[in-house]
């Protein structure tokens, strides 16, 4: 599903043993979309000799981690779910 700036999202915590760019410490975390960048080739297939198509949408997502600190991370759309 597609998201817009301001949307609340949750990073998927599904198991994925292959190459992917979603950091473990953010899996299962709730965040807020700050920006929709564009669509890029998918590193998860490109890492194994594929062309990375279809392109996946990439988002800048903000996470409140400790109440004092905020982390901004680039997360691909297929790793994001709508927050309940």
């Amino acid at each position: 599903m597609t998201f817009a700036a301001g949307d609340d999202v949750v990073v998927s915590s599904r198991e994925h043993s292959g190459h992917h760019r979603t950091p473990g410490y953010l899996k299962g975390r709730r965040g807020t979309v700050l920006r929709v960048y564009a669509r890029f080739r998918n590193p998860e297939t490109r890492a194994y000799g594929g062309d990375g198509l279809p392109k996946e949408r990439l988002y800048l997502v903000s996470f409140e981690l400790s109440g004092r600190d905020r982390v901004l991370a680039d997360i691909f759309e297929h790793w994001l779910e709508q927050a309940a």
């Binding site: 915590s13 198991e15 043993s17 292959g18 190459h19 950091p23 473990g24 410490y25 899996k27 299962g28 590193p43 998860e44 490109r46 890492a47 194994y48 000799g49 990375g52």
Partner: protein, 95 residues
């Protein structure tokens, strides 16, 4: 949830961050240039390069330096693609 050795953000630690600057050795600069040349020529890409580093045995990953990981992945990916024969680099270095 299992996390691979490279996926280390947020690991709990009390150890201070090592902020020591260090000069690069000549071979490290060459390693960077070689990797970029291979990517510019379309021989391998950044995602393959990262995947190769992530495939390192954890103990080896922990014990080597940044550019030694680049060397490991470049050799691994070039062998996969049949550009290098396994052992070819070692044989050339030894000769």
């Amino acid at each position: 949830m299992t996390r691979a050795v490279h996926d280390r953000g947020g690991w709990p630690t009390e150890a201070p961050i090592d902020r020591t600057e260090h000069d690069l050795a000549d071979w490290e600069i060459l390693m960077d240039a070689l990797e970029n040349a291979l990517e510019a020529r379309g021989v391998m890409n950044t995602d393959e390069m990262r995947r190769g580093i992530e495939s390192m045995p954890p103990a080896e990953y922990e014990s080597v330096s940044y550019y030694e990981r680049w060397l490991f992945t470049t050799e691994t990916i070039l062998e996969e693609k049949g550009i290098l024969v396994p052992g070819e680099l070692d044989a050339r270095v030894a000769s």
